[in-house]
Symmetry: D2
């Protein structure tokens, strides 16, 4: 199960399409990788962001930040670690750490490439900002309360 | 007015984001540029592709082809010439010619970069393939019949 | 080992960044997925495309084609199967089959999304077209001759 | 001429490729638009970023931020205003304001879409961080000193 303190780990390889004429991954693509990270974080909760949207709730980004520390090249193996650093019914904030890892897994944390964060609000399909606790099932899932409940019942989420 | 034989001319500069580690525009981006070309071709008809979608008709790509002749680098000025090479109520086919042009306009046709084509069907919002002549206003617009009518009436489309 | 007839299998999930306002994967992104497919095909030969570039040989695309059969949506699991359909010292041609597969692996081949192909020449860093058999190590690797030799020696590549 | 206080204005239309399944421009693409903005800011100085690279100096992004205020849809006309908010030999910081403008130019400043900033260092082709004043021609150009000199000489840059 994924708790609020939990870390989702996403691994990806730098695509040729993601490099630029400097020979390294173009800076905007880190925000795409961060999207993969939060997708995996939500999946770790036992549901998918797609299900959020199917139930009419979108999580648009209202703020995004990234500090770049080193470059990633084509075919580099990149590990994105994603956590939720703040969560209330009006807003959720994700933090990300992207590192280049050796193919053989050597070198624990890898070379730090970038650290970033994104803030999201909850939006209905009609474009109205809402509070997620109006949707108990989604709120319990995202906040981990539902999962905790299920865990107590001995039906832990894989 | 734009007739079936008409050419829409789109000019763009190669974005840094569009280059790759070879130092040239990544091959998939030509299909993005072709999209700009057909957007402009439709605009030349006096309407926009956005209006197509607002009226419930989508033009998904069913086939795409591109032959690459030379490379484009960051900040190169690229001219895309777009024509409709086939049009019937079930399908529309666009052809494209992308060339690098000198900033000062010197050298008529420029250096040929790529030639491509895309085929599209007409799709309703519900995902059903349709024939465009069921939507007379759209059909007349795309085929130029409506424009021709207006032209005869002395109200030519700019 | 990968023989000329071998198939590289690449699995990916459709990124939110790859969708468009139609709600499906944007058509140009299939060519990005094909790039992942040929990267994996070369990896299956026991080397990487990155090593090609490090030895001064690029494989630019000179022709690309895709026929679209069905749409992929956000978070869909897509399997790309890549084969080499033609290979000589002047040119290599890859063919691709992209299918949507059920998360649980149910349904053998999946729903066919698209079929495509790309043709590549061999280019030196200086931008000169070359024949790959001038680079025996690369040529044997790509053509499988080297691998076959190793296979006969009982040292098959994983 | 462009002074340190000057604003570069870039206009673009939202590409279909830039939209996502929410029907709006994907958040990472604002950073691509910001890149167009700083390209134009540098061009306003009478040189191009491409010339920077040709002289061996790269301007990689070390920090990027964006606050999103409203959404942009396909074919929306977007105006990006770019300024330099800090400049010293070790670093340059750009600020951006992206707004949706009415096609007819009505509504002065448009609807604010996003505000962002990026910080850049100066890097040699060999990957070493440098100070731009070691390259007087580039430094004078970027800081406006060279342009001022030329202006005094009555040969103002267009």
């Amino acid at each position: 199960m994924t708790g609020p303190e939990d870390v989702a780990v996403t691994e990806l390889r730098v695509r040729y399409a993601e490099t630029d004429a400097m020979g390294v991954a173009y800076y905007a693509n880190y925000f795409v990788w961060f999207e993969l990270g939060r997708t995996d974080w939500i999946r770790g909760r036992g549901m998918t962001y797609r299900e959020f949207e199917e139930r009419g709730i979108l999580l648009p980004v209202v703020e995004a930040h990234c500090a770049y520390k080193a470059s990633a090249r084509y075919d580099d193996l990149v590990r994105v670690e994603t956590t939720v650093v703040a969560l209330n019914p009006a807003r959720v904030s994700f933090a990300y750490r992207a590192a280049r890892v050796a193919p053989d897994g050597a070198g624990d944390g890898g070379i730090l490439l970038a650290e970033g964060c994104t803030d999201h609000v909850f939006l209905t399909r009609e474009g109205r900002i809402t509070r997620l606790n109006r949707y108990p099932e989604l709120w319990e899932m995202l906040s981990g309360a539902g999962a905790a409940g299920r865990r107590e019942g001995g039906r832990g989420v894989a």
